[in-house]
Each structure stands twice: as C-alpha cells, then as structure tokens.
C-alpha cells in the first residue's frame, strides 16, 4: 500500500510520537508475556473462553490492517467514489460469513480452517492443499503488513527502513511465539482501542479546523463533499471525485467488492477466530460486534480523504500524499506533532494486530495441519507447541526477508490474497458445510482449479499483461470470474463421484446444531 513517504514527513526523529509508539510496543509485549500459555488449547484457540465483545474487538483489530488504517483513506482521496468498493468489500463479507459459516465453525470446535475441510472431506490431499493455500494467504498478506510497520517506525524514529522493519518484525513475531492465541487476542483487544482512538479523535479536530460539523465529522464531511461535487467557486472543486465511475468501471467496482466479500469467507485468520469463543451464539454475536467496530473506522476513513482535500485547497492530489493521507490531514490541520504521532501509533497497532493473526494462522497451517495431522500424528502436546513456536519464528523471518524487498504493487498483492481465498477455501468451506453430497474428489478439484486460476490471473495481470485478464479478472479482483468456475467444477465432479457416507452427514447435522 505504501511505497514511499512524502518528503516533508519522512525525515527526523519525532519525540512525542516515538514515546507513544514505544509505550505501545512495550504494552503489546507485556500483555503477550503475561498471557503466555502452555496448553495446546490455549496456544491455538485461547482456551475457547473469549466473549462476543472482546472477540468482536479482536476480529476488528485482526481485520483493520495498515492498508485499512492508512491506505483506505488514501485510495478514496485519490480515486473518489470508486474506492468505496473497498469499504463495502471489507465489511459486507462479514454479513455473509455470519449466515453461512460462523456458527458452524464454532460448533466444529477444533483449531484451524483446514481442520474443518480436512475432517469434512476426510482426505489427506485436501488437508495438504488447504494448508498450502493458508500458508500462501498468510504470507502475502503479512509481507504488506511488515512493510507498513517498517515505514511507520522509520517515519517516527527517523530510522532506516530495513532496520525499522527488522525491529517491528522481531517484536510482533516474538510476542506471538511467547503468548500464542490467548496473548494475541488479549493484545488485539488492546490494539483495537489503540488503533480506533487515534483514528477517531484527531478527526474531530481536523473537521473543526476545516469547519465541518466537528461533533460528528463522519456526517459533517458530507457538506464538503457536496461542495466538491457542485460548487465550482471552491478551490477544492472536483466533480470527478464523486462521479460514480470516473475512477473505474461499474464492473471493476462490483468485481473488487465481490472478491473482497467472498475472500472474507476464506481467510484463515478470520475463520480461526471463531474457535476461540464459548458457544455458537457468542460466535454469531461476535460478528455483529466485529462489524460494528470495523465500521467505526470505515465510516471515518472517507472523512479523512475529503477533509484532506479541503485543507490542501487547490493543490492537486498525488499518489505520494495519498499513502499517508491520514497523517497528512493532521499536519494540514496544524495539529501538534505528538497528536499526529497518535495516528502513527494507531497505524502500528493496526499492523501488529493483523500480522499477529496472520502469523498464528500461517504457523498453525505448517505445524498443526501439515506436521501433526499429516506427517507426525503421534506428536505430544508439548512437542506440538514447541514446533508451533519454531514455525512462527521461521515464518516471521521469511516474511520479514520478503518485506525488506517488497513487490512493487503491494496493494494488488494484498488483493490477490483475497482472490486466492475466494477461489479456494471459500467454495470448499461453504459447499462442504451446506451440501452433504460434495465429495473429497470435488474438494480436491476445486482447490486445484482455484489455485491454478489464481496463479494464471496473477501472472496474466502482472507479468503476461494478458488484456482480457487485466480487464475481467485482475489479480486483486478475480473472484467474479474464478469463483463461479470453481463452483461449477465442484458440482460436476460431485455429481460424477460417489456421495459421502453417514459419517459426513452426521458431522453436518452436528455443525448445524441438529443433533446437538
């Protein structure tokens, strides 16, 4: 998402922000260490004792990444209405997740997303493919987070980007290793507060400076938006900003939103969160809380974008400023440096919480799904936790190395993680949970097809420059094309193969609470 820092923001050590961020980092580590766990249930699923409100907060902080915190406002600032596809894409998927999967995952009551599809299809091949997909999703998603964390630490401490990335990566990896999921969730509750307060509070002052209903800036910016659309007497007049398809076609809008929504149903770090609650009711209600907490930020992000445009007057919006527009808006509103530093601390919290969730799910895929379930089922619990900690460290290191030389188009890489989840885990999970006829052969064919289509569309968009791929199925928004293909393949293979037996039907009745 962030490829460079605006020159005026990039240099020098900033004492106020440094103290705030330093305290935040210490707090994360302390919470992680005090929540240290020794049991497998504690490490992976927080002893299944998390209530709906804290789990909703954990869901939200898990979800709100550096890209959401900084990049969302930046995209809207640059592309206007068309970027609202990200706002609805990153929220609407939860409504679908709730009705199709939330309670069923909780009732299944194991550890990972792959556990569910592995047991449902009773197949080692499905298990291995599911674990590989999980690792790829966690990896590509985390690279962008590490990069964002590195850039913010570099901005605040005036350090070299590589050193900043090393410091940030070491801390986040360290506390996941030390604490496991219990520490991650407790941290994510703290992190939600540490990210939402620095995001919302400065907005009141920025709206006050701009003169638009500071008490409720999420509504107040509407007046500025109307002026931008209709009032040619204003320096910030720009009718292209609100024109529905000036920044991208209607098809692109729908493809982006659909991919992000369907990707939500297949993201392992989201799915894992539903094993941590006490019962299926808490699982369902934690989605409501999570959606509310997420929306609190997404309602405010467009306000940052619009108010930044107002405050900069007639200056042309540039991609360079878009990357850090929430911080730029604070500068433009002449807020004190330490106050602007709060926003930076919030961005760090956002990056840490998402990365921790991704690291946990990626490490679980390697150590739990591949090592224990497939390679060494006889491993003892203590041995499993040691392996989990080791794999977390190795994965964190590998992600850090990639983040030091990040791909050129980070936003597209993040989007492609959603495309992959939407074309693989999403259909295999949803069809598997709602149709007892789907066979292991169909799941295997679905995962292979989804993976192949994802590789092809990513290659066609980024390297092969295949025109129809770039238009109809770009890497970051391909699910509108790939998901129907995968579903069709799964249905055809299912109808050509023998139906699963009573064991699978009994599992599905349990997942739907029928035999409970």
């Amino acid at each position: 998402m962030i490829d460079s820092l605006p020159v005026e923001l990039a240099t020098g050590f900033k004492l106020g922000p440094a103290i705030i961020v330093g305290l935040s980092l210490v707090l994360f580590v302390v919470v992680g260490i005090t929540s240290r766990v020794g049991s497998e249930e504690g490490f992976w699923v927080a002893d299944r004792g998390i209530g709906p409100v804290p789990n909703g907060m954990a869901l939200a902080s898990n979800w709100i990444s550096v890209a959401s915190f900084l990049g969302m406002a930046g995209m809207i600032y640059l592309h206007g209405f068309s970027s609202l596809s990200f706002v609805i894409g990153w929220t609407g998927g939860y409504a679908v997740f709730l009705v199709l999967l939330a309670a069923q995952i909780q009732r299944f009551g194991k550890y990972t997303a792959v556990d569910l599809i592995g047991d449902r299809y009773d197949s080692a091949t499905v298990w291995v493919l599911g674990a590989l997909v999980t690792i790829v999703i966690a990896f590509v998603y985390s690279v962008a987070q590490y990069q964002g964390i590195g850039l913010i630490i570099a901005w605040i401490f005036g350090l070299d980007y590589a050193i900043s990335t090393l410091v940030g990566a070491a801390i986040v990896t360290g506390y996941v290793i030390l604490s496991g999921m219990l520490g991650v969730i407790r941290n994510q509750v703290v992190q939600y507060l540490l990210l939402i307060i620095p995001f919302l509070v400065p907005l009141f002052f920025i709206a006050n400076r701009a003169g638009y209903l500071p008490l409720v800036p999420q509504l107040g910016y509407g007046q500025a938006l109307g002026e931008m659309a209709h009032d040619a007497g204003r320096a910030w007049y720009d009718p292209t900003f609100t024109a529905p398809f000036a920044g991208g076609s209607a098809y692109t809008f729908i493809a982006v939103a659909f991919t992000l929504m369907m990707g939500t149903l297949g993201l392992p770090h989201v799915i894992n969160r539903f094993y941590t609650v006490r019962n299926e009711r808490d699982a369902r209600w934690s989605v409501v809380w999570g959606l509310l907490f997420i929306s609190a930020l997404y309602w405010a992000a467009p306000a940052y974008a619009v108010l930044a445009r107002v405050l900069q007057g007639g200056a042309q919006p540039t991609a360079e400023h878009a990357d850090l527009v929430t911080i730029t808006a604070g500068h433009l509103a002449q807020l004190p440096a330490w106050f602007v530093g709060l926003i930076g601390a919030g961005a760090i919290a956002a990056g840490f919480s998402t990365t921790a969730g991704l690291l946990s799910s990626g490490a679980a895929a390697i150590s739990h799904d591949l090592f224990f379930r497939v390679l060494r089922p006889s491993a003892k619990p203590r041995q499993r936790i040691q392996i989990a900690r080791l794999t977390t460290g190795v994965l964190g290191l590998a992600i850090m190395v990639s983040a030091l030389q990040p791909p050129a188009l980070i936003a597209e890489v993040v989007g492609s993680a959603f495309s992959l989840a939407a074309a693989t885990l999403c259909p295999v999970l949803v069809l598997g949970v709602w149709w007892g006829r789907v066979t292991r052969q169909a799941a295997t064919a679905g995962l292979v097809t989804g993976l192949a289509l994802w590789v092809f569309t990513s290659w066609g968009d980024w390297y092969g420059h295949v025109e129809w791929v770039r238009h109809w199925a770009p890497a970051g928004a391909s699910a509108l094309v790939t998901l129907p293909v995968v579903i069709a393949v799964m249905v055809v293979v299912t109808l050509l193969t023998r139906a699963p037996g009573e064991e699978v039907q009994a599992l599905l009745r349990r997942l739907h609470g029928i035999d409970a």
Partner: protein, 135 residues
C-alpha cells in the same frame, strides 16, 4: 451409487429449525446482494456511459472547472440528489450500506436466537427424526 443415509442439503436439511434458518439466510443474502450490487447496477444502467477519467494529470486537474459534470461516467439524476450534503450514491455506499450490513447481522441473530429458544423448549421443532423420515 448413492449412500443409503439421508444427504444433508439446503433443500433437505433434516430439521424444521434449520429449514426456517435457511429462509432467513436466503432473505438476508437477497437484501445483501441487492444493496451491495443492485444499486451499483442501477447507477450504471441510468448513468452516463464512458471510460474512467481518474487519476487526473496536472493538465486535467487545472481544467477541472471546465468539466461538464453530467458528462462524467455514471452521472444521472440519481447522483444529483443530495441528502445532508452527501450525493445520494455516496451516502448509500459509504454510510448506509455499512449500517445495513450491521442491521442484517442483528436481524439474523435475533431470529436465530428465537428459533433456538423455541427448539430447546420443543415448541417448533419435532426433531430430525420426523424430517429424515420424509426423505
């Protein structure tokens, strides 16, 4: 070829309670799809057709005061309606739709909670045996 045991599916869920839950789900997915994509399709259908123009280059930015807003892609009578300052399509997409998603989630949970309460008191659900017997 088919196994003798009843196969779980949306059409034959094996429980009245789950059957009713599936009706709520269908309703919610319909509202979700119409709200998320139906509105955009309407905007496209009635709006001005044309290729995207953003991001503007320096020349385009300087000349933005000379652009005819009605000629921009997607513009229509609908996008010229303002509510509390917001163009209607922005208000719907950036504000109302998020509230709609939350509302749908609350509605679903309240209805399912009621279903579960009824089921646990034996008021509505005769259990899986009756449903499986029909298959």
């Amino acid at each position: 070829m088919r196994d003798a045991s009843p196969v779980f599916s949306v059409r034959h869920p094996g429980s009245d309670m789950v059957r009713r839950e599936i009706r709520f789900i269908a309703l919610i997915l319909l509202v979700w799809a119409l709200g998320s994509f139906g509105f955009i399709i309407v905007l496209w259908a009635i709006g001005t057709k044309g290729p995207p123009v953003l991001p503007l280059d320096a020349h385009g930015w300087e000349n933005r005061f000379n652009i005819d807003p009605a000629a921009l892609p997607g513009e229509s009578w609908l996008t010229r309606i303002d509510i509390i300052g917001f163009p209607l399509h922005w208000l719907w997409t950036g504000m109302v739709l998020l509230a709609l998603f939350i509302g749908l989630a609350v509605y679903f949970n309240v209805r399912v909670d009621a279903l579960r309460r009824d089921a646990s008191s034996g008021a509505t659900d005769a259990g899986p045996a009756r449903e499986i017997g029909r298959l």
